[in-house]
């Protein structure tokens, strides 16, 4: 069976790749596309380490077929910083040490960014529920939640 040819947009840039019909988007990102920021933790949609957005909707790339990217807008952790300039969430995660081993961090950042786009003023409870699908075995979550809340606050001030 011939491979499928997929034309898509990744982080705002046109991209093309070949995939098997049963390859996941995570397979395509980490394989032919060479974008290894998205991590494979569980491969079953439980851990959130492979989080991306598809047409601005937060999804697990391990639960999406690569072929589904045809004609869609995909955003990954690689598109979060503007060149050398980190996204405010990335900067705050560093400042507040909201990570340890780092495996969950790309997914945490992509999911948090999706939250703040939808809700610039989340409560602590809203942050915790939103990130319930992102597992972290190092931090105990507290520093991550505080970093997201602090970023939200600073982004609101900057927008004024």
């Amino acid at each position: 069976m011939a491979k499928l040819h997929v034309s898509t947009t990744i982080n705002g840039e046109p991209a093309e790749f070949l995939c098997e019909p049963n390859d996941t988007m995570l397979d395509a990102l980490r394989g032919p596309l060479g974008l290894t920021g998205s991590k494979e933790g569980c491969a079953s949609g439980d851990c959130g380490a492979c989080s991306i957005t598809l047409d601005d909707r937060l999804v697990c790339s391990c639960l999406m077929l690569a072929a589904e990217a045809e004609g869609r807008q995909v955003r990954t952790i690689e598109g979060m910083a503007q060149g050398e300039k980190l996204h405010p969430l990335q900067q705050k995660f560093l400042e507040m040490a909201a990570l340890q081993c780092g495996i969950c961090t790309p997914g945490m950042l992509v999911a948090s960014e999706a939250l703040l786009r939808k809700n610039p003023r989340p409560s602590e409870q809203e942050v915790r529920f939103w990130l319930a699908g992102n597992l972290c075995r190092c931090t105990g979550y507290d520093k991550i939640v505080r970093a997201v809340l602090e970023t939200a606050s600073e982004m609101r001030e900057a927008a004024q």
Binding site: N22, C60, L63, L65, G133
Partner: protein
């Protein structure tokens, strides 16, 4: 090498002919949150995957002329939550759909997939049963409708004929004084599978219950419509005796298994507790006390 094919047709007719032609080796994919996990584990090895999300009818949410709703089988939980009216009319159905998985899973998972995956513990199903939803299925022999509670046949099995695809759910018009709710028992607050699930939909006139439906999950091989639990509620003002009789009827309807999530005895007991709590929420939403 794989000999698997992926199709994303734009019309239902294309989807049905491809699905029917491929026979038992084919799988329908809505959000894929169950299918891709089953493929990954080797439990399912489809020869053909038919992605139904490019078919307009499958992804639409419409208010029907009589004031009901038609929800496409592939509408994601996130899309349903963003609809301006659906959650106001059917808060119990919405909360049940939105309990499935994380935000990431909600971006993909659908009520249609949840129903056809036919887990006895699927969260959206008891709420849809309570709501009196009717599903439309379309196959090589045309279109038919059936009550949602007729779809599950057993764990992992649905009462769909060869080549048939679940197209949409139709929820009936809502009389004034109606409310619905869904609660599930899990040992944590998020991201878990129901030990027991309970959906209730009620209509009140002057504080008296005029209509009630109860759906139960994870207490039998399929989700159950429990008419015996609705009977003591109808005509009552939700006094303790009526609600206790409904709870007892729920326990009597249970045919649960022992598994890692709970014992049969625990499920049978807790289902009555859950019924009482769910009724209280539905009554409050219906404008009772």
């Amino acid at each position: 090498m794989t000999d698997i094919r992926y199709l994303a047709p734009r019309t239902l007719d294309e989807a049905i002919s491809a699905f029917a032609a491929a026979g038992s080796a084919a799988r329908i994919m809505a959000g894929g949150t169950d299918l891709l996990v089953q493929m990954r584990s080797g439990a399912v090895r489809p020869g053909l995957i038919v992605d139904i999300k490019k078919i307009a009818e499958m992804t639409a949410i419409e208010e029907t002329a009589d004031g009901g709703f038609r929800v496409g089988a592939a509408v994601s939980g996130a899309e349903l939550a963003e609809h301006p009216r659906f959650g106001k009319v059917w808060p119990g159905v919405l909360e049940a759909v939105n309990l499935i998985g994380s935000k990431q899973v909600q971006g993909r998972a659908s009520a249609g997939g949840n129903l056809c995956n036919a887990s006895p513990a699927g969260d959206s199903v008891p709420a849809m049963v309570a709501a009196g939803a009717v599903v439309t299925v379309h196959g090589p022999d045309g279109r038919r409708e059936m009550p949602v509670e007729k779809v599950p046949a057993g764990p992992g099995r649905a009462n769909l004929r060869s080549g048939e695809i679940l197209v949409s759910f139709t929820l009936p018009p809502r009389p004034p004084g109606s409310g619905d709710a869904y609660l599930r028992m899990i040992p944590r607050t998020e991201m878990d599978i129901a030990v027991v699930g309970c959906g209730v939909s009620l209509t009140l006139v002057g504080g008296v219950c005029t209509a009630a439906r109860v759906g139960l999950g994870a207490v039998a091989p399929t989700v159950l419509l429990v008419e015996e639990a609705a009977k003591p509620l109808i005509g009552s003002k939700f006094d303790d005796a009526a609600v206790s009789a409904a709870a007892t009827a729920c326990s009597a309807a249970c045919r649960p298994i022992d598994d890692k999530r709970g014992t049969s005895a625990y499920r049978t007991k807790i289902v009555g507790v859950l019924l009482k709590r769910t009724v209280a929420i539905a009554v409050r939403r219906a404008g009772g006390n």
